[in-house]
Amino acid sequence: MSTPVDPGQRHPAAQPPELDPVVLSALGLSVWYGQTQALRDITIAIPRNKITALIGPSGCGKSTLLRCFNRMNDLIQGARMGGEIRFDGDVISGDIDAVVLRRRIGMVFQKPNPFPKNIYNNVAWGARINGYRGDMDELVERSLRRAALWDEVKNKLHRPGLDLSGGQQQRLCIARTLAVEPEVILMDEPCSALDPISTARVEDLMDDLKNDYTIVIVTHNMQQARRVSDLTACLMLDDAGQDGHRTGILAEFSPTDILFTNPKDPRTEAYITGRIG
């Protein structure tokens, strides 16, 4: 049982915790899949050049929230969004061209998903469809270097991307995302299919990338959230409504060290100490 919350109370923790420039923000965001509400009234502001982790129990809508930021939910029939999302000050929750948005907000997925093409073309593909006019060889090399993969693949750029190990495939997917020069990188449990050594490499890479990019990462692994993120948002499921369905809400959003050492919300505390979820 989680502690009942006064329904009229706006989440006091859901304010921007620092005065960093905000790059992405959600205001009163709700998401429905058909008749089922997945997220309710999420208000969150994600600062630039920081790593923001989204944690919470299974089914609480972490990935749904992440996929609102690049309008990936549009691909799901019956998905609807209420409230407002802003990116660099522009509203991106309304009737916008998601294709243009997705180049600027890249995404790395749970399961490494390189294209069934060679390594070079995996990296070049996104740049090509976006009409990149610069030197493609240089872009591919720069992206692979930035993803800490260049030294391992520079002699086999024309081998299939699917021949690489899982960890290398995930870094290839990161390189592919970097090649379209996004401002934000959304990562949906990027390490859940990787072994600990590959996970450590991806985490090092994230730390390096945050100088140039804003990263939002969904993770099931609380140690990972603690290790890599500057800020952590903990999502929770509310109490079941009359139909027995539970909806995701934002329980707490704080700097990572504060959230893990001194959580304000009792549900967050219960979750991070392993009592729920």
Binding site: N70, M72, N113, W125, G126, I129, R176, T177
Partner: protein
């Protein structure tokens, strides 16, 4: 300690009796029965091959013709004296129908597969896909008289004002109806392989800022290419083997021509013609049936083997 273990063993022998020994026999019996069923198809194929092969040899002996002269001779006059058995006109006619119907079916089938797999909303797909597959259930002879009564008159109205003569029986009408007939083969099989492309690949492409068209044509289609090609080959081999629609639409004049508005004859049509005629048993004309049948069998088998090889490559790419 050991006492309680004994007790547990007692209890387990009550609730979990030893399984009877005859279960093993049943298992072997089941395996044998299933094997016998599988054997039926293999034996049938072998039987067909043996009959066709033996009768074909008899044909080549009685007609005094070499297989090469048979396949590449360009004059087919089984009733002439002496009869001529060059089936190149039949191979040509069969190829013409195969190519012509592919020109109709492959683009339309593939594009509708892409629509169904990538563009169609779930409701549209759940209505359209069964309807397309219904096309495959129409008896082929129905396509034949549709060609005769609808397609050919329509072609006449379109082409005769341009000064082109359209014969009552013509290859083009056969190509159109056989093409329509094999659309569902292409669209249904292609749709299956297109939609089995992992969703992660589509998401990756969308995530990089690709449009739906780019995702469909530059990620999904290449990833499913071998499956799509296999569906093409299967459809072509269906067109090669198609009989009744072609009999009614294209007529029975064995000739090597590039003009699709005239009558032609395919291998299958020739078989129908001979069977429905009065060729007496053991004559070269009668035996030629089997040699043509064997050629047809070989052609479709080669196409099916190619299709199988292509499909295997697809499975290797995506386990």
């Amino acid at each position: 300690m050991s006492g309680s273990r004994d007790k547990a063993a007692d209890a387990s022998s009550v609730h979990w009796p030893a399984r009877p020994r005859y279960l093993g026999w049943i298992e072997s019996g089941v395996a044998l029965a299933l094997f016998a069923c599988a054997l039926v198809t293999v034996l049938t194929t072998l039987g067909i091959l043996i009959v066709l092969g033996a009768q074909s040899i008899a044909f080549f002996q009685t007609a005094g013709i070499s297989p090469l002269a048979f396949l590449f001779g360009n004059s087919l006059k089984p009733d002439a004296k002496p009869p001529l058995f060059g089936i190149l006109p039949l191979i040509w006619g069969t190829g013409m129908v195969a190519v012509g119907s592919s020109l109709v079916a492959l683009p339309i089938g593939l594009l509708s597969a892409i629509y169904l797999s990538e563009y169609a909303p779930r409701q549209a797909r759940s209505i359209l896909k069964p309807m397309l597959e219904l096309l495959a259930g129409v008896p082929t002879i129905v396509y034949g008289y549709l060609a005769l009564l609808l397609v050919t008159p329509a072609l006449r109205r379109m082409l005769e004002p341009m000064g082109l003569r359209v014969e009552t029986f013509n290859a083009l009408a056969a190509c159109v109806v056989v093409g329509i007939m094999i659309i569902p083969l292409v669209s249904s099989l292609s749709e299956d392989v297109l939609s089995s492309v992992p969703r992660g690949l589509r998401e990756a492409a969308y995530g990089l800022g690709a449009t739906k068209f780019e995702v469909s044509t530059r990620v999904v289609l290449p990833a499913a290419l071998s499956g799509v090609l296999a569906s093409f080959i299967l459809a072509i081999s269906r067109a090669v083997g198609e009989t009744m629609a072609v009999v009614l639409a294209a007529g029975m004049r064995p000739q090597i021509t590039l003009n699709p508005l005239t009558s032609i004859e395919t291998m299958t049509t020739y078989i129908v013609q001979v069977v429905s005629g009065e060729a007496s048993y053991g004559t070269p004309k009668y035996l030629s049936l089997f040699a043509v049948g064997l050629s047809l069998f070989a052609a479709t088998m080669v196409l099916n083997i190619i299709s199988g090889l292509v499909l295997r490559r697809f499975r290797e790419a995506y386990q």
